[in-house]
Amino acid sequence: MTSANHEGGARQRASLPLWVTASIKTLGSIAVTMLGLVFITFIIGRVMPIDPVLAIVGERASQSTYDAVYYQLGLDKPVIVQFGYYVWDVMRGDFGMSLLNARPVAEDIARVFPATLELATLGVCFGIVLGVPLGVVAAVRKGSWIDQLARVVALVGYSMPIFWLGLMGLLVFYGILGWVGGPGRVGIFYEDVVPSVTGMILVDSILDRNWTVLKDAFSHIVLPASLLGYYSLAYISRMTRSFMLEQMSAEYITTARVKGMSEWDVVWKHAFRNIRVQLITVIALSYAGLLEGSVLTEIIFSWPGIGSYITTALLSADMNAVLGGTVVVGLIFILLNIFSDLLYKVFDPRAR
């Protein structure tokens, strides 16, 4: 279910007469992974030095109130039963109440998630649009200045703390040059101007045909999205380069040249076609990585997404919110992996 799994796994699983058992196996391992993920969060919740009962009833509650809540939460039951309850709750999308604002955590997450999705999606788009061609050219012209550039871009990307780069970007492009909007999703004058349909402000403002808000929202998102995009660019370009190098030395490339094809066609119609499958995995992984990277980015840019949500909850010891957020992000990780596995099978004739 994880990236490294497909190399050996996908091909064996694909043997057609066994496809039913194979699918069951796949589904089974997905289920086990998800269960494990929920289990780890559950354990973390148990270990947390916060008394869940006290957190609900408050310090001054009487012993009887305390006991009532204690039994209501099922804390008298064996741990395994408690875990069962927890799994059941998670499956129903019930992460409990936020201790901070007494609202269901699931609702809060649904509210903040589109902001993260919007940011990460735009970021990964930057990464793909720039990173793939950069990686391809770096591989085809190995050793050229473009290859060196790609190397430096990747090295810097792997070495720079994202939150610091965000601060620097804010300082230069907002503070000094004034080219982009500051922290937040829109300027304060535009807040809540467009009705929230998808929760993604770029989409919402387009749906509302409110171009002023669109422009303002874009000026706010462009910096954090390019930052995230830079990190995914570093990763995608590096991986693209090494995949392409491998393909360009393959014999079928000589075949294409013998046919009299131009180098452009050889690269894009033959070699690139062969790395699409691997690229999908890389892009899915980098997308997942951006969801993670957005935790720190969102804080720098006061972006009201799931990263901000988890961190705020963490600092105010809002256990349910932390665990809920962690489970959701983890599940999205797994789903992205499954998704790339499926696309793998669509695009690679050998894996069907």
Partner: protein, 286 residues
Amino acid sequence: MMEPLLDVEDLWVRFPTRQGVFDAVRGVSFTLGRERLGIVGESGSGKSMTGRAILRLIRPPGMVEAKQISLGGVNLMDKTEKEMRAVRGQRISMVMQDPKFSLNPVMTIGDQIIEAYRQHNRASKADAYAKALEMLEAVSIRDPDRVMRAYPHEMSGGMGQRIMIAMMLIPNPEILIADEPTSALDVSVQRQVLDIMDKLVKDRGMGLIFISHDLNLVADFCDRVLIMYAGRIVEICEADKLSEAKHPYTRGLLNSLPRLDAPRDHLEVLQRDPAWSEAPSVSGRL
């Protein structure tokens, strides 16, 4: 023999390495008419490099130098890369060793053959498809419709190589370079693939350069044989007179092979003489 199809004169292939320049092919000269010319040598003898150099497929940092590689009186060395592309496939084509690697694994066979045809011929998709079917039939593939839709990994080695031949002959080139075309195949299908290739080459009046490490096979199949050693041609023979070869390397090769008609208790081990690689190349030009 009349006007040769291809005239190679003083061909060098060089690769810069950390220890200095390595000469893979050193001053090789030969001509090719409408014949089957065999090039035999052990691995590293420069035989494959010779084939690739003719198509100017040696990639930098490798370098190709030659007085001339002339195709129908035009020197290929003077052509630009763009002009070379009109030569590749359309006038000189090449079949490589292993169809497992030389066919693009993620494209259907049909697409790959059609692509080879449309690269040099203006044809509608439907015409190209019909042409490709016809070509697959010419290499004795039954059920060509199904094969057109199939992917390379669904084919056996013998079928893959026949597909490769079909693909390389569809633009109707004058010369085919076959670089160890049967080495990766099962012995049982080797002959079949060779026969198909032979027939097509003969019917179309093409020239064939057959590169192999298998002396017996080449002697059987070709008209003339060049024997390469350490980047040079050490001897040239008519294939049917191979047993009269004089060069000690050729003799050594022959003696190290078991023969049904003259069984021996001990096969000789090839003794190498450093002088072989020093001696100048023998010219294979007619």
